[in-house]
């Protein structure tokens, strides 16, 4: 059963094309990670599916209806990218307010207990730390016992421990049959949670596959070194950037590249090998014209 879908959806903001004919189906029970660089269109896609924005053209469906209609959102839970809780209200009051909108919600205590927020119930949200606010915002998504939740960068601003415990909560929701759409620009987070990964870039779906397949696609490294020598012809180097006497080489096989550098007797110092960010990986790997406009 398809819980969320877009068909050939395009969204423009003035002259900017944020989404370009995107078609996507999310079926019940899936845990989908939406991945992509900032400004790729992830949040726009999510905002269309949760009814905040309208498409310029194309069809958006949530639970079989138009997400702009309240009835379509009865089994929806959302954590927006930005946490905004009414500063003068207490945590317990915010929970009560959101709770009143659902037919069969969790009790207040059940929710607070499950997300470790019981101690905060009497606190005004304006006085919470960023991490505490974020945890409240994520907890609210699950309050209405939704069938599908959209979590937009849920763990931004959380420390490692809070992040892990939140992941645990998301996993257990999914194990109980819940459907999750998660956006992140951390590959690690998507790897830890998702089964299916949809990569968005330049307003288009660039890849839609399993986690291992996507990991293979973006497993490229950036090898940086300081050298004033000119480089020999090296195999497997996708891109070379020069920044003064600092060179950055992008390659899928950093081990082989380093061996080659040594074998060719290239004089270098300060060797550094690190994973590329997703943004670099996709900008490098994707030669689709869409990526050019995304820059």
């Amino acid at each position: 059963m398809i819980l969320a879908r877009t068909v050939e959806v395009t969204r423009r903001y003035g002259d900017t094309l944020a989404l370009d004919r995107v078609s996507l189906d999310v079926t019940a029970g899936e845990l989908v990670g939406l991945l992509g660089p900032n400004g790729a269109g992830k949040s726009t896609l999510v905002n269309l599916l949760i009814g905040i924005r309208r498409p310029t053209s194309g069809v958006v469906e949530l639970c079989g209806g138009d997400p702009r209609l309240p009835a379509s959102r009865r089994l929806l839970g959302v954590t927006p990218q930005e946490t905004g809780l009414p500063a003068s209200l207490r945590v317990g009051e915010v929970v009560d307010f959101v709770r009143a909108h659902y037919a069969d919600p969790m009790t207040r205590d059940e929710l607070l207990d499950r997300f470790g927020l019981t101690d905060l119930v009497r606190r005004q949200t304006g006085g919470l730390s960023g991490g505490q606010k974020r945890r409240v915002a994520v907890a609210l998504a699950f309050l209405g016992k939704p069938r599908i939740v959209f979590l937009d960068e849920p763990t931004t601003g959380l420390d490692v421990e809070a992040r892990r415990s939140l992941w645990e909560g998301i996993r257990s929701f999914h194990t109980d049959g819940g459907t999750v759409v998660l956006t992140s620009h951390y590959l690690e987070e998507v790897e830890a949670l998702a089964q299916r990964v949809v990569v968005i870039g330049g307003g288009r779906v660039l890849a839609d596959d399993t986690v291992p397949a996507i990991r293979g696609l973006v497993a490229i490294r950036r090898v940086s070194l300081t050298s004033d020598a000119s480089l020999p012809q090296l195999d497997g180097v996708i891109n070379v950037e020069r920044d003064g006497d600092r060179l950055h080489l992008i390659t899928p096989d950093s081990d082989q590249l380093v061996r080659d550098l040594v074998r060719h007797d290239v004089a270098f110092t300060d060797l550094e090998v690190r994973p590329t960010s997703l943004e670099e990986a996709f900008l490098t790997l994707t030669e689709a014209p869409a990526m050019e406009t995304a820059r």
């Binding site: 702009r68 959102r73 959302v78 927006p80 930005e82 905004g84 009414p86 003068s88 909108h101």
Partner: protein
């Protein structure tokens, strides 16, 4: 649906009354205007003072709601909480109705000093029945101005909303005859006023507290304004997508 309306009203009221200065602030301006304009100029004449108080209440109802909703809503809209509430299974009606109820509660506090000043510092008099009628009419005439505020708040960014509310409120007050005694405005104002929301509202108030005749045309146009403003507010709410980028 009604319980959602009450939920929204309750939390609006909670939010407003958690910041007591906002409540005090909303009652300051009407009270100060009473002391500055009504008490010294019309205070001794029972009929004049009663009508002037009714005008002042209408003026306060208009300005409080126009500013509170016009500016308040457009500022709320750019906060991340508002788009979040839009993802909850709730439509425009419970949110609007909740705001109207909370607005009426706030108005009790905003108008209380005006009523007290009228009672103790002027010769204004009303019978208990007239007082109840005036209270009821105050609630009724607040509705079109709350909807006007919501229309502004949901269709404009906050800086523009401030300007539009300021530009609208003085001409509406003057052309509606709020600045003058019944029948005392310049001729063109007397002709136009009954058909403006302010003029229609103040005429109902005058009728509630005195012998001022109710004009059907004026009441009908006030109802028409309310319907039109409700439609504009709902339209603005539906097309709103929070912050706008281009």
């Amino acid at each position: 649906m009604t319980s959602l309306t009450l939920t929204h009203a309750k939390f609006q009221i909670l939010e407003t009354f958690r910041i007591p200065i906002a409540v005090i602030g909303s009652s300051f301006w009407p009270a100060a205007s009473m002391l500055a304009f009504v008490v010294p100029f019309a205070g001794d004449d029972p009929q004049g003072a009663t009508y002037a108080t009714a005008s002042m209440i209408t003026f306060a109802v208009m300005s409080t709601n126009l500013f509170q909703y016009g500016i308040g809503v457009s500022e709320d809209r750019v906060q991340p909480w508002d788009p979040y509430v839009r993802t909850l299974p709730v439509g425009a009606f419970p949110r609007f109705a909740g705001r109207i109820i909370s607005g009426l509660c706030l108005m009790v506090f905003a108008l209380l000093p005006v009523v007290l000043i009228a009672a103790f510092l002027t010769a204004a008099t009303v019978t208990p029945l007239e007082f109840l009628a005036a209270a009821g009419v105050t609630a009724l005439i607040a509705v079109p101005f709350i909807l006007m505020g919501l229309s502004i708040g949901y269709s404009l960014p906050s800086k523009a909303a401030i300007v539009v509310a300021q530009v609208l409120f003085f001409p509406l007050a003057f052309a509606g005859g709020l600045m003058t005694a019944p029948g005392g405005a310049p001729g063109f104002v007397e002709d136009l006023a009954p058909y403006l929301p302010t003029g229609g509202a103040v005429r109902l108030m005058w009728a509630a507290v005195g012998d001022y005749p109710v004009s059907l045309g004026s009441v009908a146009s006030l109802i028409a304004w309310t319907v039109v403003l409700a439609a504009v507010a709902a339209w603005a709410y539906r097309r709103d997508e929070g912050r706008r980028f281009s």
